[in-house]
Symmetry: C2
Subunit: 328 residues, 2 copies
């Protein structure tokens, strides 16, 4: 294990890929190896700027990340790009799976691109991504970008992984503006109106003003940071540096106020508890009696034949603690 | 138990109060009685219009509910007012505790006011309120208003209790507008700018326009309903009927589209699972070994001395399933 840890430290890309495969594995002994590896490298982690980037399909996440990543590697940064894609959980497919979506960055020796794990629950996928992030930090990547396509609760999971959460939106007006998923605005530290070029520039500026106004109606996440709305064009590589500058200003403000540290502590505890909950619930669901009862209980609760509390009671009573196995 | 159920049906206020005290009790045998009672009355539940009303302290929730409630009872409705107040969990205090806050409604024979249970976790408080709501429905109240002061996750819990979620805001301009808690706008089916009278009318109209614009930026919760922003003055009893009219239009739209039923089914299942999770976690926390380990594990996870996954492992390993007791 120390061997692999050393190879990672030395910047060996194959070792890095192998280590991530290890933390992504759900086999019990891989899990043990992974835990040992993580314990080993933990002192080397935490040093990166962790940026989450979210946006609906078609908004141009890949081209934006390609533009941002290339800018950063040219400036001497080492950039890891990870992904949380709950749809891959179902489809087996995976965003970033097709590296040609980020041709330039994929060829960049200072960049490392890793698709979303395509097995497990969202919680499982996000946990593996979190651990992949730690491995990348140990490998010396000082910027970790976590991409997510806005499905289900994935934005919340990713926001809980990173220091700064960036929401990409398309330039649009009127009804099209209703594109932003409820709950996402509240997570945004930074909103970027992408594709702000050519004919769309005017529309983009209107969207910028609208979102800035909307954000002013909400209590900011931090006393020391008010979310900003910026314009960018990945195609013409305009405004990308400004986005990064905002990320840095955001980080500096949170560092000085102590929010960055508090966030990471809160995130770590939240992750521990969500994993505890998920595995407890998994153990319950997998208990033979419970899985036998579940369809009937869910049907009764759905139709109102029994109260949610009574339903919970029935499941918990059927839960034979003997049969507990802490599966992922 | 059938006795109490019959008394509730007959509209006996004392029986209603007694039944709610029963569902609020955490004593094991009270719990059993409560479950029996709920099973007994379940066929009589579900008939009310369930309205959640949220707003920060000082926005005028009580006077608004008093105005709305009185309007409804005059129109022949029977109105129950319940509350979810997580702060009461800590302080032992409780909103609606002081009925003089709703003098008129408190004297109204067609209204029933119940303070927030002041024991248990938010989940526990919300669950008891949910069951109190069912009891009120069985007692023939056709409108149930659930008030919450915006603390922690209480809005989310209440939104998961009701059919329509109303957010009260104060008329304000500029920076004051940043008063609305992030995440609340996302829950709103209806936003009411309260205190829209006298000198504040102009400011209220500006706030109305601002919030309407902000809501247009977010994808609506339903295809069949776009959140509305209305003006009201509880003091002058203006705009109250319009708020109720919107609640009714909202309900009708959701009924026709089938969203109302789907919501309630989804809510019931979500409640069952959150109760299962809460009680599983409670059992874990209360296991002797775990409670002994917990401080050290949380400290290690917080400081990064171990990963959240490793922390979760340590807790789950220390969890002696033998010692499971499904405490609330």
């Amino acid at each position: 294990m120390t061997g692999l840890a050393d190879e990672i430290r030395s910047g060996d890309r194959r070792a890095l890929a192998r280590a991530i495969t290890l933390v992504e594995s759900s086999l019990e002994d891989h899990r043990r190896e992974a835990d040992a590896l993580l314990a080993n490298i933990l002192p080397l982690t935490g040093g990166s700027t962790r940026v989450g980037i979210s946006g609906t399909p078609g908004v141009g996440k890949s081209t934006f990340i390609e533009a941002l990543g290339s800018l950063l590697t040219r400036a001497g940064h080492r950039v890891a790009v990870l992904a949380v894609d709950p749809s891959s959980v179902r489809s087996g497919g995976s965003i970033l799976g097709d590296k040609t979506r980020m041709e330039e960055l994929a060829r960049d020796r200072r960049a490392f691109i890793r698709p979303s794990p395509s097995k497990g629950t969202l919680g499982g996928v996000a946990r593996r991504t979190r651990e992949a992030m730690l491995v990348c930090e140990a490998a010396g990547y000082d910027v970790v970008i976590v991409e997510t396509v806005g499905v289900g609760q994935s934005e919340t999971s990713v926001a809980d992984l990173v220091d700064a959460f960036v929401v990409l939106i398309a330039p649009a007006g009127g009804d099209e503006l209703q594109g932003i998923k409820r709950g996402v605005m509240e997570l945004a530290d930074l909103v970027v109106v992408n594709k702000a070029d050519g004919e769309l520039l005017g529309t983009a500026e209107v969207a910028q003003a609208d979102y800035a106004a909307a954000l002013r109606l909400m209590r900011p996440k931090y006393d020391v940071w008010t979310p900003e709305v910026l314009l960018a064009s990945s195609k013409e590589r305009m405004g990308i540096a400004e986005v990064w500058d905002a990320v840095i200003r955001h980080r500096r403000a949170l560092e000085e106020s102590g929010d960055l540290l508090r966030n990471r502590e809160r995130q770590a505890l939240a992750w521990m508890w969500s994993e505890v909950d998920e595995r407890l619930r998994g153990a319950l669901r997998n208990a033979r009696e419970v899985s036998r009862l579940l369809p009937a209980v869910e049907a009764d609760v759905r139709t109102g034949a029994c109260t949610p509390s009574a339903g919970a009671q029935r499941l918990l009573r059927a839960f034979d603690p003997e049969s507990v196995t802490w599966v992922d």
